[in-house]
């Protein structure tokens, strides 16, 4: 299980040595073309056209209108909130991922399999259920939530709740990237560093981190892309207060409901652009460091 890749979206194939002998190791030419065309047409209908339509809708009244709609103070605060939530949730999840991978791959102990399963759990939990869980735990009608609100620390319908919901949804991403890689790398290098007299932290910074940096960055990028766009779980815990607890996806829904479709699609386009930047970074990584990534335990 350890080498399963939930976040397999990372694993792009390294460039394939170009076909040599055409013959029985390839499909007939007509079949190749048919399959390629069918697949590309489907991809266009299901993914590319919907995506393009977001930009078309946003730019329907011209770029100036689209940009102007984003400079509205409420829109700004939604953008800020989304970046803030990602800036808190992603590093925390990265910290968790590194710590969990360290504990899981460098030591043998009982209960590892359980921990792995628990880490995976958020991945298959419906976002709505995740939001409901957080409301049940931290809502004013619960013991803990009531006490926190009484002490001026509201979680639900405030930023902490949104951060928690986002963390829940993106929780396994970094750990999932690191565990297979670190399992494969073993612990010989770390042990050597210790034998040479390095302290624990020095060993971590000089040996472990350099070994896992690309997979780590990879996981962080994925985690970030997903964190910025989360809707279902955040919708349950947000309270939808304009300018305060409305993230970009929530704001898109609100604007759309207000017949402000240009503003809604402009914000959607911006959010998509942010995601595209993340994905481009990811592709660049793959392109430049294909060999390191290929070494990161893909099977």
């Amino acid at each position: 299980m350890a080498d399963m890749t939930v976040s397999a979206p990372l694993a792009t194939a390294p460039a394939r040595p170009r076909a040599r002998a055409v013959g029985c190791t390839e499909e007939p030419r007509w079949l190749r073309w048919t399959v390629t065309l069918v697949v590309l047409a489907l991809l266009a209908l299901l993914v590319v056209v919907p995506l393009a339509s977001v930009f078309v809708e946003a730019l329907r009244d011209g770029a100036a209108v689209a940009v102007a709609s984003l400079s509205d103070p409420d829109a700004w605060s939604a953008i800020r909130l989304t970046l803030l939530v990602a800036a808190v949730a992603v590093p925390l999840n990265a910290l968790f991922g590194v710590a969990a991978a360290w504990a899981l791959t460098k030591f043998h102990w009982r209960g590892k399999a359980w921990l792995l399963t628990l880490i995976d759990l958020p991945f298959s939990v419906s976002p709505v259920v995740a939001g409901l869980c957080i409301v049940l735990l931290f809502g004013t009608n619960s013991l803990l939530g009531g006490w926190l609100v009484g002490n001026g620390l509201p979680i639900v319908f405030a930023v902490p709740g949104i951060v928690l919901a986002t963390m829940f949804i993106t929780f396994p991403f970094v750990a999932r990237e690191l565990v297979p890689l670190m399992t494969e790398q073993g612990k010989a290098e770390e042990e050597a560093a210790l034998t040479l007299g390095a302290s624990g932290w020095r060993m971590f910074w000089t040996v472990t981190l350099p070994n896992i940096r690309w997979a780590l960055l990879y996981g962080v990028l994925l985690c970030n892309a997903r964190a910025m766009g989360e809707f279902g779980a955040v919708a349950v815990v947000s309270g939808k207060i304009r300018g305060e607890t409305a993230t970009m996806p929530i704001m898109i829904e609100m604007l759309y409901n207000e017949y402000m479709s240009v503003a809604a699609f402009s914000m959607a386009a911006l959010l998509t652009l942010l995601a595209l930047v993340t994905l481009t970074l990811k592709s660049l990584l793959e392109w430049r460091y294909a060999d390191q990534l290929a070494a990161s335990g893909r099977h």
Binding site: S77, R80, L81, L83, L84, A87, V88, P91, V135, G139, T140, N141, G145, V149, P154, V156, F157, V159, W205, T206, V207, L209, P210, R213, L217, G239, K240, I241, R242, G243, E244, M254, Y256, N257, E258, Y259, S261
Partner: protein
């Protein structure tokens, strides 16, 4: 041996931290700037109304010699908004689609007294509305009254009454018409819902489905929502049809005692709600297609557009305390309609 890697790596977390810090700094002033603020938790179709009211109120409040106030708004389905308040959304005032949603808050929390509805004039409803039909331009299916909705081939768009306050009024209006026209109301309403192809969770979703997605022949809508749709989406595409019988929908407002920390906040919340009854605010109410009580400052055109309809009030049904469980509760008449419809 890993020197280069170390420097480049060390830079990664640090820049991440810096980025996080910068973002925190960006977000903080926003929280600090909230001096006097008021959170109005409202339902879906009032967005445009309260945006205008809030501006007018802030100006008026300052003109009375107070510090500037920032009114914040949260909109969603009436039921989900009430749930959010029950779960701790710290609303200062609630302005919802129906009294039963505010009753739910009073029942389940200590935030409100049970008799909240007697604290402001007109059953705490500064504006009323009713339910009308929005049909496609030229009314191709010839829909004139409730009875036409169950004709062969007519598709009706209405939201889910379990989640939408507006949809509960739609349902009750249909019920009232059937009672007055010698039909079995339960059968009629059941028939009606069998003509519904999409059951959105809120009034706005239903309007979008009808107007922008082109689904259905008739939308059962708040009167204000129907006029707004004409305004926003083009009056060359839709017509409003007024049925012979409809309901007097009273969307009530109240302040949430438990969330008001001190007398100053209470004064602000009460001033805000009382402001809704002033001629100035009532003019805005008329302008936004709601039926107000005081037309003295309103534009006469805004007032004149409302047709006369026979309006049935919730009291004629026995009040929300009776209607809510009987019709919309778990296993209530609406649930029965759908469980029978599925067989």
């Amino acid at each position: 041996m890993h020197n280069r890697a170390i420097t480049s790596l060390a830079a990664v977390p640090r820049s991440l931290l810096l980025g996080a810090g910068a973002l925190l700094a960006l977000a903080l002033p926003q929280a600090a700037a909230a001096q006097a603020s008021l959170l109005n938790v409202s339902y879906d179709p009032t967005r445009e109304l309260y945006r205008e009211i809030d501006g007018a109120f802030s100006a008026w409040w300052e003109s009375q010699g107070h510090d500037p106030v920032e009114v914040e708004a949260s909109h969603g389905g009436s039921g989900s908004q009430a749930r959010a308040v029950i779960d701790g959304l710290s609303a200062d005032v609630v302005t919802l689609a129906l009294a039963s949603d505010i009753d739910a808050i009073a029942e389940r929390t200590d935030l409100l007294p049970e008799d909240w509805q007697s604290r402001l004039p007109h059953n705490s409803s500064p504006y009323t509305s009713t339910i009308v039909f929005l049909v496609r331009e030229g009314n191709p299916k010839g829909i004139q009254d409730w009875g036409d909705l169950v004709k062969e081939g007519v598709e009706v768009i209405t939201p889910n009454p379990k989640t939408s306050g507006g949809a509960r009024w739609n349902y009750l209006a249909a019920w009232a018409w059937a009672e007055r026209n010698g039909q079995d109301p339960k059968t009629f309403v059941g028939d009606l819902y069998r003509h519904v192809p999409v059951l959105d969770s809120g009034a706005r979703g239903a309007t979008t489905t009808f107007a922008q997605r082109g689904i259905g022949d008739v939308l059962l809508a708040w009167e204000n929502e129907a006029y707004l749709a004409l305004n926003e989406l083009g009056d060359d595409q839709f017509d409003i049809v007024v049925p012979t019988v409809s309901v007097l929908a009273e969307p009530p407002v109240t302040w949430v005692d438990g969330n008001l920390a001190d007398d100053a906040e209470r004064e602000l919340a009460q001033a805000y709600l009382n402001f809704l009854y002033t001629p100035e605010a009532q003019a805005i109410i008329y302008k936004n297609f709601y039926r107000g009580w005081d037309a003295s400052q309103a534009n006469p055109d805004d007032v004149a557009r409302f047709p006369e309809i026979e309006l049935v009030s919730i009291a004629d049904f026995g009040g929300w305390a009776k209607v809510q469980p009987e019709h919309f509760g778990d296993g209530g008449i609406f649930d029965q309609i759908y469980s029978e419809g599925s067989q």
